[in-house]
Amino acid sequence: MSTPLISLPPDRPARLCAPEPGREIPRRLQDLGFVPGTPLVIRRRAPLGDPVEIEIRGYRLCLRLAQLDTLHVEPLDGNGATPPRGTR
């Protein structure tokens, strides 16, 4: 079950999925480590709602909401093993 990253609630661990067919993760995000299979967590939104702070590969990065549209994730449970049932 994949869900758009934009709808992932804060502090919920997830794993990056392959993008939808015909779409591609922007090259720059790939260089930053956003490749399918990578675990990530949304830490918080900025006080004004945008951008968001994402923790990935041991560091924290802020990205604007508009840039998340190619990113889809699979939420993980607490220990990052299996996806929970009935996510969205």
């Binding site: 995000l29 006080p47 004004l48």
Partner: protein, 635 residues
């Protein structure tokens, strides 16, 4: 394993390559004994620089490069890296070896760049920085194993404490003997690269680190929707208030010292024009600017501390939305904020912005940010004309006025960006990404070094631009002289001489243009002189008053407060005049260095010409409005 390529004769050149904010410059400073600027903020280094390895047995040059996430750069600062590594910089060959720098806490990303570097086939080794933080966060890192897996030398360091540097230094002296792994196949994409990274991390059993709980705790407060914004505003207001309250004793001391020096030189040196030049030209001119050194020190201490601790990146995170409204982005924020020190490094820091459109907009509005050269002007006028009434605790009316001027500059920058965005620079917003580094406590030594680095640039300006301007002005203010009239008192004769001088004639010539702003010819001369550099106006006014009344010149502040128009008997400098002049300095682009760097960075004189005209127009209209509105309100 392939054989090491033959190394060129002459100095050995080793390039530092790594992601932003991994401590390359700290390492560079430690290896070469330099004092280049560092900060806990991604993108502090935007140009390459070279330094010799200290205490080395052969001539080894270390090249510090801007941080980059990949070796085929996108942004102007990343292209510097690509160009250096490809030997595309004129007169420079490809570096002899690569020293890849990775931050121990973000190896899962940093190793991606190691993979890229290994594809180059140059002698390569890895230095892992901040190894102390891994331990502090309950992780472990087996560097020997990492070295075996990668097939290259790996050294762990704590750059600012000097841990691991001796071993690194000895490696750097002989890249010929570094183990070389077989050149990796060049064609692969990010997915394969990070699959390799993940596998490497597994092989060395580098598990995930415990979350940085200190950073989490601090961010919960500083990035809180309400508290975060309130704290940001409070920090800024406190900064401007502290500039007033803490600097005063030191400023008075410097002022007194220069006054005494001028008096002594009048006393000791033989009477004549040389003595006058030294006392009223050089000492009064340079001294009037140097007394602001304590404030500059406080400002830079604050700015460097906030950057080093990691707060600036948070500030950019908080305001990115606002920047987005006017067509800029969070990455524009820090170049703009560095303009609080000086627009020149600020404009250069705009190189970290990937989109040419947003970069140009950032460069064009940068001079509106209140640089430290405006500080002497603001302080002089505020201290002279704004009452020191306390409002709340340490915050007073003077500090708040200062804060308002900074705010006016910043808001005008944003408004102008919005204007550019809807006229000359239409387009879509580009990708924005920025790292939020962990909070780190800077060492006192590092902080002191940085503050001194910035402050000495200010002192150097006082010794060069201000000194030269003071001498030129002194000549213009003293020649030609009026005819000697024995019936006049010494003071009246001095006034007559001043009126006859070339500078006064120039001032009177432009008076009709500036009179509507509430300025007299003296301010006019100051404004013309300040086109070279803003703080020259302070030196100019100091000289005009010192020349006009050499007998008891008791400091510039008293002189402008007490200056009266001989015809009407009214004070020349009133609150509306002071406010009008302040507003003029908020808006006008009076800085030769900024204009030159703007032309260099945009590759055309068209943009600085546009910025100069626009800002001067805004300054005129702004001052005109301020003068008349405040006069109407105060009468």
């Amino acid at each position: 394993m392939s054989a090491a390529p033959a190394l060129a004769t002459g100095p050995l050149r080793i390039a530092l390559v790594g992601s932003p904010n991994t401590g390359k410059t700290t390492l560079f400073n430690a290896l070469t004994g330099s004092a280049a600027r560092v900060g806990n903020y991604p993108g502090v280094t935007v140009e390459r620089r070279e330094g010799a390895l200290v205490r080395a047995r052969r001539d080894v040059r270390i090249l510090d490069l801007p941080g980059t996430y990949c070796l085929e750069g996108e942004t102007p600062d990343e292209r510097v890296v690509a160009d250096v590594l490809a030997g595309r910089i004129a007169g420079e060959s490809i570096p002899d070896a690569l020293l890849v720098v990775a931050d121990a806490t973000t190896l899962q990303r940093g190793l991606g760049l190691v993979r890229e570097a290994l594809k180059r086939g140059l002698p390569t080794m890895l230095v892992v920085t901040m190894i102390d933080e891994v331990k502090a966060r309950g992780g472990k890192l087996d560097l020997l194993r990492l070295s075996r897996v990668l097939g290259v030398h790996v050294v762990g360091v704590v750059g600012h404490r000097g841990v691991g540097l001796d071993q690194l230094r000895s490696f750097l002296e002989s890249p010929e003997s570094w183990p070389q792994r077989a050149k990796l196949p060049p064609a692969d994409d990010a997915t394969q690269r990070f699959a390799w990274v993940d596998q490497t991390c597994q092989e060395i059993a580098a598990g995930a680190l415990a979350p940085d709980s200190r950073t989490d705790r601090i961010d919960r407060v500083l990035l809180h929707p309400f508290a975060g914004v309130a704290i940001f505003a409070l920090v800024m207001i406190l900064l401007f208030q502290s500039i007033f309250s803490w600097a005063v004793p030191a400023m008075d001391a410097i002022d007194g010292a220069f006054g005494a020096l001028a008096a002594l030189s009048h006393e000791w040196l033989p009477e004549g024009w040389v003595t006058d030049l030294v006392a009223d030209g050089i000492i009064a001119g340079v001294g009037s600017v140097l007394i602001f050194l304590p404030q500059i020190l406080i400002l830079f201490t604050f700015l460097h501390f906030l950057t080093d601790v990691g707060y600036m990146a948070r500030a950019a995170f908080v305001v990115d939305r606002v920047m987005g409204w006017v067509g800029l982005q969070g990455r524009s924020f820090v170049p703009l904020l560095s303009c609080y020190a000086c627009a020149v490094p600020g404009i250069m820091a705009a190189r970290t912005i990937a989109s040419p459109r947003e970069r140009l907009a950032t460069i064009l509005v940068a001079p509106f940010m209140t640089c430290s050269a405006r500080l002497p002007v603001y302080t002089l006028l505020i201290a002279a004309f704004v009452p020191a009434t306390p409002l709340l605790g340490p915050i007073g009316v003077q500090g708040l006025t200062m804060f308002a001027l900074y705010l006016l500059g910043a808001l005008t920058a944003l408004g102008s960006a919005a204007l550019l965005n809807s006229t000359l620079l239409r387009g879509t917003v580009s990708v924005f990404y920025m790292e939020l580094p962990p909070y780190r406590v800077p060492t006192l030594r590092l902080l002191a070094r940085q503050v001194w680095g910035s402050a000495s640039a200010f002192v150097k300006r006082a010794g060069t631009i201000i000194l030269a301007a003071s001498i030129v002005l002194w000549v213009l203010l003293n020649f030609p002289k009026a005819a000697e009239d024995p019936s006049l008192t010494a003071e009246a004769q001095a006034q007559a001489n001043l009126r006859a001088s070339a500078a006064a004639r120039l001032g009177h010539a432009i008076e009709p243009v500036i009179a509507p702003l509430g300025f007299d010819w003296k301010i006019g001369v100051g404004i013309v002189a300040s086109l070279a550099a803003r703080e020259v106006i302070v030196a100019t006014l100091a000289q005009i008053y010192a020349v006009g009344d050499p007998e008891d010149f008791g400091g510039l502040r008293d002189a402008i407060v007490n200056d009266v128009n001989p015809a009407t008997g009214e004070r020349l400098f009133t609150l509306p005049t002071a406010l009008s002049l302040l507003v003029f300095f908020v808006f006008a682009l009076q800085c030769t260095s900024t204009i030159v760097v703007m032309a260099r960075e945009t590759g055309s004189w068209k943009w600085p010409a546009l910025a100069f005209t626009y800002m001067l127009g805004l300054a005129y209209v702004g001052s005109l409005t301020t003068y008349h509105v405040s006069r109407a309100l105060l009468s």
